[in-house]
Amino acid sequence: MIIETHHLTREFTVRDGLRRRTITAVDGLDLTVAEGEAVGYIGANGAGKSTTIKMLVGILVPTSGTVTTCGLRPLKDRRALTREVGVVFGQRSQLWWDLPVRESFDILGAIHHVPGPVLRTRRDELTEQLEMADFLTTPAW
């Protein structure tokens, strides 16, 4: 299994004026995803989709339950896991706002230890497929 969760739960404490309330964002989720499987995970705003993803990749600590992703424990093995997964959050950028997009990719390549020739081949391939050539040299903002 590439993703496996057992009774995965996450609660948040929120301040409501002077009172404190506990909100259960993810409630006892049991989920298995096999290698090669494509799964859609849908729900309304605030249903807990991002919270689940963040627990799968080690950003958030689960309140209870267990999770393994790619056979790794997201919290303990966060750094190893980041080499295996890619995550995109809505309206969140991996780019540096003041750099040309091309330079952001060079830095991300260094961060993820992608060798230079591999980085260039992959970038050129994606630039062509996504027709991004005109945007590559302009700053992200």
């Binding site: 991002s50 958030l60 600590v61 980041t82 959050f89 969140r92 991996q94 830095i107």
Partner: protein, 269 residues
């Protein structure tokens, strides 16, 4: 091989931050100038004070230049490298912190190396001038040990102020708009560090000697350099204890950061 690749990654980020600041030249010059002015005004404050009073807490103007110089050199370099850490809420809101979690490096190291404020170098220049003047004018009975103490004091002072920024970053996980609360320790601590600790009352001594060891960045080494008797609670041999204070400050900082990271509530969807 992996550590070289890691160093290359940090260098790529910091290099891009430096190029970005230098490429906006006009802006950078204004930043440098204003940073220099702030440093000069704070130095002028010391001068005005001692223009009216010959000695405060057993320390005169030239000795005070020494204290100010030690504190400002150490602080300005720490501020240049670590100063953005207490703006952690901005990183959370922009989603940058979540991006740090998704990269194969320690989150704290990514935060530290995500920016560098070269304009703070102007402050370092003011600190160096004050320190040099203090070292030349004050009555110091020089020896190899005392020269080593100057270097040790600046190095430990840098480590202590850096730890204060990291501690402040860790606290932001718990506080809402918490920079105001941590400023009291970080910027208040910098101000306290450039004063003679002999004038502090007991609660201030507890706060800035034992909890956040700011007194070890400048005043205590200066007391040892000048061969002065230590004030109450602070024997002069404490001037050599900078490394102990620096280790304590980092323990506190890293523990706060560690607990903070586990307490993180996520930056929204």
């Amino acid at each position: 091989m992996t550590w070289q690749a890691d160093v290359a990654a940090y260098r790529a980020v910091i290099g891009s931050r430096m190029r970005s600041q230098r490429s906006h030249r006009g802006n950078f010059r204004i930043d440098l100038t204003s940073s220099l002015l702030v440093g000069l005004i704070e130095l002028a404050e010391v001068w005005v004070l001692f223009h009216n009073v010959p000695r405060i807490g057993g320390v005169g103007f030239t000795e005070m230049l020494l204290v100010f110089g030690l504190a400002d050199c150490a602080y300005s370099v720490a501020d240049m490298i670590f100063g953005h850490c207490d703006r952690l809420p901005d990183f959370i809101r922009a989603g940058t912190l979540d991006a740090f979690y998704l990269r194969p490096q320690p989150v704290l190291l990514q935060l530290i190396t995500s920016d560098i404020s070269l304009r703070r170098l102007a402050r370092t220049v003011v600190g160096l001038v004050a320190l040099t003047a203090g070292l030349c004018l004050a009555d110091i009975d020089w020896s190899v040990a005392k020269a080593a103490l100057v270097v040790l004091a600046v190095a430990c002072g840098f480590a202590i102020f850096a730890a204060a920024f990291v501690w402040a970053a860790g606290m932001q996980f718990f506080l809402i708009d918490g920079a105001e609360a941590t400023n009291a320790v970080v910027y208040g601590g910098r101000y306290a560090a450039s004063q003679p600790a002999s004038v502090w009352n007991k609660p201030l001594k507890v706060l800035f000697v034992f909890a956040f060891p700011m007194a070890f960045t400048a005043y205590l080494p200066a007391v040892q350099l000048l061969g002065l008797p230590g004030p109450s609670w602070l024997p002069s041999w404490l001037g050599w204890c900078g490394p102990v204070a620096a280790v304590w400050a980092w323990l506190l900082a890293l523990l706060t950061w560690r607990v903070g990271v586990r307490h993180y509530q996520g930056g929204g969807g």
